[in-house]
Subunit: 572 residues, 2 copies
């Protein structure tokens, strides 16, 4: 075999094993050292193949696909700082538990650490922020190599896929020449992963747990962000009849069976700002599935009442409990706890939650009707979302507006955000990646700083079609900082945190040939939202005011609290 033939069989086998392992999507960044893998992926049929020039955006784009598909996505780049640019998305994937197969091409050993161009130390490049990292051998003729490649790729894909899912890193050195024999066929893959077990609880535990569900009246479910399935959850909740506090990212605020609508509590952020209601709402037992919710009032409430039983269902030994209130960590897959062998009636406790939730919902709805600030506009956006659409919310204010103003619905609307590390980076890319995977009309709600941070997320739209409406809430700077205590240092605040750039995005729309609308009023916004889609990308820039937002949000919370007082302060 010539060297070229051997290199070809090595990369063909590499790519074929990835395909056999069930990976469907490849995100590639152009570069020289990764040429053999790029060619092998490109000529292999059956992959969705995406390109992005900016590796940072590419990382987040792959993350978006993987999030939506709940399946590992290949992220491929050349050697050098290209690989370092993946780091932010890898960190997010690690904490958000999203499966990525990061493949970095590398220089051969003799060109490492000797001042050769584009050669950096890529071994364990991502430190503790990948589940596994492995350095592959050079494609030299060795009968063990193909079997090694097969086994290690299967391991890598399984590792990324097993709960808690996450990124893995494969470093692959290549020596020049980087040419392939493009006609050569692929050999068979001999080894496969036949079965991956599920994390299920013991019978003893289930018995104890069933007892609690059956007998406890003052119980709450909390459901946060997770890539695990939610199939079967509502059937289960309907039997237990505990109030269910659903974070928008649980994807349980939409597609709710009509008969479960009353159990779904989506206004906990508002109603848990009221002291009187908090007193009647204290639970004895809480079972939390998925990540901790976004809502700060909910966190403060849980921390202050410290339920005597707080079960954190978390598939990882490094379970999430920043409040330090979990009394039981149950390390199983959430669905294994959605048992169907009990039946209960509703309770006064559950009714209180429903009643408070309805009070808040009415206020929120009239706020959406009557106000004109960012929150009301976001609420209007959520109301206009159609069945079978999806919305991505940026970190910072949009995710909070989603929490407050996205009302539970029977419509099928998927909701996403990057909450592994809550960064405002990579948001455009993740949203477009999720759109590509879901193949349904996409909406992105984002602030001006986050949009600016990942403008390069739009580059993929030059190579791949999308169907995306981007709503940029332009309040010219860092809106969320206005809510922080340090905002009182007015001498320095605007300079250090507000960071108004004065930039407007009509130019970006023109550059990317996107449909653009500048919106200065609520009426305009409504008209634009329901107007015709003339292009694949639509950018709606909504000009708002940071100061007004802070004030009107506070007014809404006060009004809800006042009505809750009128019900529960009297009763106490």
């Amino acid at each position: 075999m010539t060297n070229i033939e051997y290199l070809t069989s090595y990369v063909n086998h590499f790519v074929e094993t990835i395909k056999q392992a069930g990976v469907q999507d490849i995100v590639m960044c152009p570069g020289s050292r990764s040429t053999p893998l790029a060619y092998a992926f490109a000529k292999s049929e059956g992959f969705q193949f995406y390109r992005q020039i900016d590796e940072r955006s590419a990382g987040y784009f792959a993350l978006g696909i993987a999030k939506a598909k709940k399946n590992p996505v290949v992220l491929l780049c050349t050697s050098g700082t290209a690989a370092a640019n993946f780091f932010p998305a890898i960190v997010e994937a690690y904490y958000a538990r999203v499966p990525l197969l990061v493949i970095t091409a590398d220089r051969p050993h003799e060109l490492r650490e000797v001042g050769a161009p584009q050669a950096i130390d890529q071994l364990h490049l991502y430190g503790k922020h990948v589940k596994w990292s492995v350095d592959f051998p050079l494609p030299e003729q060795n009968e063990e190599s193909l079997a090694f490649v097969e086994r290690h790729i299967q391991r890598a894909v399984s590792t990324s896929r097993v709960f808690p899912m996450g990124p893995v890193h494969i470093n692959v050195p290549f020596r020049e020449p980087l040419l392939l024999d493009m006609e050569q066929t692929t050999s068979n893959v001999n080894m496969q992963v036949s079965e991956i077990g599920k994390l299920v609880p013991s019978e003893e535990f289930l018995e104890w747990y069933r007892d609690i569900l059956q007998n406890e009246e003052r119980g709450l479910f909390i459901v946060g962000d997770s890539l695990q399935t939610t199939d079967g959850f509502w059937e289960f909740a309907k039997l237990v009849r505990w109030p269910v506090l659903v974070d928008p990212l649980s994807n349980l605020r939409a597609s709710i069976p009509a008969e479960c609508m009353d159990l779904c509590i989506d206004q906990y952020d508002a109603i848990l700002k009221n002291d009187a209601f908090k007193k009647v709402a204290v639970p004895n037992v809480v079972v939390r599935f998925g990540a901790q919710p976004v809502s700060k009032p909910l966190m403060l409430f849980l921390k202050s009442c410290k339920p005597s039983v707080f079960i954190a269902v978390d598939e990882s030994p490094i379970f999430r409990d920043s409040l330090h209130i979990a009394t039981h960590h149950v390390q199983v897959e959430a669905g294994s706890l959605w048992i169907k062998t009990l039946e209960k009636a509703s309770s006064k406790y559950a009714d209180s939650w429903s009643q408070a939730n309805e009070i808040a919902t009415n206020h929120v709805n009239s706020y959406i009707q009557n106000e004109t600030d960012e929150g009301a506009l976001a609420g209007m956006l959520f109301e206009t979302l159609q069945d079978n659409s999806y919305l991505f919310a940026s970190s910072s204010m949009p995710i909070r507006d989603l929490d407050t103003f996205f009302n539970k619905t029977t419509k099928d609307i998927q909701l996403y955000a990057n909450r592994g590390t809550n960064g405002i980076d990579g948001v455009v890319s993740t949203a477009i990646g999720a759109q590509a995977a879901l193949n349904r009309p996409g909406y992105l709600l984002i602030g001006d700083l986050a949009f600016l941070h990942d403008l390069n997320g739009l580059i993929v739209t030059r190579f791949h079609r999308t169907d995306m409406t981007i709503i940029v809430m332009n309040n010219d700077g860092g809106g969320i900082f206005s809510y922080l205590p340090q905002s009182t240092e007015t001498n320095y605040f605007e300079h250090l945190f507000g960071t108004p750039t004065g930039l407007e995005f009509s130019h970006i729309a023109a550059m990317y040939n996107a449909q653009y609308s500048a919106v200065h009023s609520k009426e305009d916004f409504k008209a634009v939202l329901t107007g015709e889609k003339l292009k694949d990308i639509r950018i709606i820039e909504v000009f708002t005011n940071r100061q007004v937002n802070t004030e009107t949000h506070r007014k809404l919370w006060d009004e809800i609290s006042k009505e809750l007082d009128s019900v529960w302060k009297v009763q106490l």
Copy 2:
């Protein structure tokens, strides 16, 4: 002392120690957790204080300042992926040996790895790509803390500054509240670094080395990129009278004393493509200062002739020698080898180099006069650069055009590029950072992909004045890939490597209120280059053709080779 008073004294002391250690520049990214340090830096007088919203660009901006000033620059951000975004610039700083003081704010220990927002594992976050990494204690009342802060900051600054210079990382956790007493004064810093020694050679070595310089006729100096001073080099070279092959990034192609112009060989890239000349040019001894040069023909030449003595002068034990031809690694500061105690006459060997260099220079000059491709345009740009200006060249084609078309000059023109890892990322930011530090008119020569990659580098211009002319060679895609062997796979090539985006940058100019010119001809380019500067940033977009560039460059090299043949092929 209250907690606020103590936190204030902690960060004041932190900042004062940094100032005492001689750091002058602070690059800050807005965020919440880093508030105490941001306020302390902002209110401390005597720093140059810069802001950037995109942390990746901020990293490269700080790198640019540090490169130009040869002094550590503080790079400050909040916790989470903000810190991960610094990674590419840190990797570049590590390999380019540029001093950075990276300060990441962190959550306190009880919020790490428990699912708290914006909390990632920041300990040793940058792995092996920093010279030192340290986790600071929480600012809790402890009499040891201020002394610890003082000593560890002094260490960090010294570590970044001692050769080989490079980045260091300080991780600083803060617990809420993050408020300071803004009136509180700063305490005295008690400890300082009084002296940092120089790496100098022994007398025995110097004797051996002086002998070689004195007696060897066929000797060459090669001078590459370095942050070490070049003061005194030409005085030394004038005495030895060996040809000096100067990489443009050595900053020895400009400000050359008139009497040394003949020693300066700047056309080695062209003349070492000729076999006949290569035979007469074989050296017995090579002494290389700084990094390996950009030129591939030079590398191939050195590799093929393997000089019997090749002295790599490199201040690091991890010395740069990707060709594996160094016979002596001399681990000292370059200037300590520029001895002044010898005197020689010129030699036939040196004259051959001068003669060949002149032949190439004539061809290059007439090429610049007569051709219209990217190279000729770049050459014209270099000719128009004024005394006291500086130029930053992107990786990929611009650095190669700089190597070929930047003629040695007595004018004072500084030249920079990011060659630690040769990335095309962060180029705009590094260029603007260097401009801020040098405070002289700046020029950036960059391709369309590199410009697109770091468009966010322009954000700093919203907060800080600059004087920068950006020349974007827009050939719509990855020009350099056309030179690679793998470009022959035409079925896949354009799709995978060309990546034409079809984007034009007039929109970006409008967004950033920059002066914009679209250039389609050489005449236009000349007119624009010499035209009036109406705004702080000028973007000149030059539309060129990838295919033509490849062909005309090859023609130039062939013509030079032909004339060299006519001189030396005959002699052989």
